[in-house]
Symmetry: C2
Subunit: 328 residues, 2 copies
């Protein structure tokens, strides 16, 4: 048996085999292995809860696959509110006919991210739909974490805060685009867990006002959301935002803005000026392209302005229309 | 605008509109409205965590829709481990072209179940895939609950325990089958939240050893799983298990076993004999078809035996093969 059959989702013998012989073996931990209807986790003092469904195509891309992105996405969302990720669910919607070997390598890569972030996959679900009713595999993960730094939220954004960016931008979007257009490119997705870098910041006593990973809609979506949430103007500097030459090339070729391309392991954070220098130092231990890229101004105009090297300014508009479907 | 467009999943202006104008308005609560990357929930002493993805077709059926089932499924899974459901996530994978009015009524029905069960939808995600890449809408819910009754688990199953069933069986499977075959039928799905009945049992001091809702694979899948988990023989009595005449008719027509048909609001519980009479009494306040249907024997043969009215016995085999895809 080397392909997924409809009966793998039917609640009978075949589904039990798939779950026991593959899924439980890969995610093996005592909470999951209890195999009850819900995972019982023990107490958590201040809980964070997040979910994302992943429909990325292609399911294998340069620098990752749908399993890696499904783990990183939810782990990173928990980190972004100052929470230490602890538990993950993994729910699969699989198209009949998917190669079992593909499913296995996807789950292994999901599990590797979890292991390295000390996160346990404790519950899940498997559905199989007939051929043509989904596209290969969709994965939902939900995550539970323990808040270790309070009030990391758009509510905490205020004028005077510095905006920091953890690395160069647009690599995930660029890779997906290259893959779909069959471009030869050395570009790798930035898809990764942000656990080490975020915990390093918090351990060093940095108090982020707000953090957000720049996924769909890229840096532009996050900055516009922040400007909307705090009702203030945000100014960023074009030349402080690192973009690789590969991403720039792809953007020129297809008419995209690097600011709107998705990232899957790159985040923005807002900190008070006191914290900015130390925070950039720590960010650079993980990615030399990290930088302070701008600040929140006093002006009560809820918008994002970007200044280029010649001091000319323009609005960075929120992304609109169909950018790039199924990026994550 | 009356249809979902790809841009509703793109992370830009259109997605924000959909989320703010429809989703947040329906699920409206202060935790969700914070709109951070994860919901921060406060402390929970002993946490239960569960997830399910729903791909049921048709998305509207007699007695419910995919939104109702998505809420009930996860709420019930939390209840089945003795947890009080508190928070739900809601993650949508939508096919381009879905009518906005359908999406709205699905979300409203999901939210009605949550409201009546005092559960808050606190986080979510929206993906849109091109036409033909999924089938109308798939919904994942994950849920967090607080364990109020410890050790409700297959680990607690033991010989001598009585097996109780909360209502008549096979109605959800029967409805889906009738809908797909365009049969005229009065049959309604049993799809419902089990919160009131389970909390009534626990409040009355009943100590369930194990509970499980009989979804995919039906009563047969649950009993066989239980027999496997405790390594003991389970004996049930055919005539004690209520099946409506409509379900029986559908089973005869299509060659199904009612024991293998899915339920979406009917559960099995195992209790020690002391608790059995009182538990049945409480179950019957919610469904007059509830009954004690059998017991766990001493015999270390991990299997399920069913006895009919003429005392003739046969094995109730675990479901095998493709029963009925996309039942939930």
């Amino acid at each position: 048996m080397d392909r997924i059959m409809l009966s793998h989702g039917g609640g009978g013998v075949e589904m039990n085999e798939l779950i026991n012989k593959m899924i439980f073996e890969i995610f093996n931990n005592e909470i999951l292995n209890r195999a009850d209807d819900s995972a019982v986790l023990g107490g958590v003092k201040n809980l964070a809860f997040s979910t994302d469904s992943f429909v990325v195509t292609p399911i294998f891309f340069n620098g990752g696959d749908i399993g890696k992105i499904a783990a990183c996405g939810t782990i990173n969302d928990l980190l972004m509110v100052g929470a230490k990720p602890k538990f993950l669910s993994c729910s699969l919607i699989i198209e009949e006919g998917l190669a079992i070997s593909d499913l296995k390598s996807i789950l292994i890569s999901l599990n590797e991210v979890c292991k390295s972030a000390d996160v346990k996959v404790v519950c899940g679900d498997t559905k199989v739909v007939p051929k043509g009713k989904c596209d290969k595999i969709f994965i939902n993960t939900a995550g539970v974490g323990e808040v270790v730094c309070e009030n990391v939220s758009t509510k905490s954004l205020k004028s005077g805060a510095k905006i920091l960016l953890s690395g160069d931008i647009g690599r995930h979007g660029g890779v997906i685009l290259s893959n779909r257009e069959n471009l030869q490119s050395e570009l790798k997705s930035d898809c990764k867990s942000l656990k080490n870098v975020v915990l390093a910041l918090l351990d060093a006593g940095i108090k982020p006002l707000c953090m957000r990973d720049a996924t769909r809609g890229g840096v532009s979506a996050v900055l516009n959301e922040w400007a909307g949430a705090c009702g203030l103007e945000i100014l960023v500097y074009d030349e402080k935002i690192a973009v690789s030459s590969e991403v720039l090339g792809i953007c020129e070729l297809f008419g995209f803005e690097p600011y709107e391309l998705a990232n899957e392991g790159t985040f923005l954070l807002a900190v008070m000026p006191d914290d900015a220098i130390k925070a950039v130092e720590i960010l650079r231990q993980f990615d030399k392209n990290a930088n302070e890229i701008g600040e929140i101004l006093d002006s009560k105009k809820s918008r994002v302005v970007i200044e280029n090297a010649y001091k000319s300014r323009r609005f960075l508009e929120p992304p609109k229309g169909e950018l790039l479907p199924r990026i994550c």
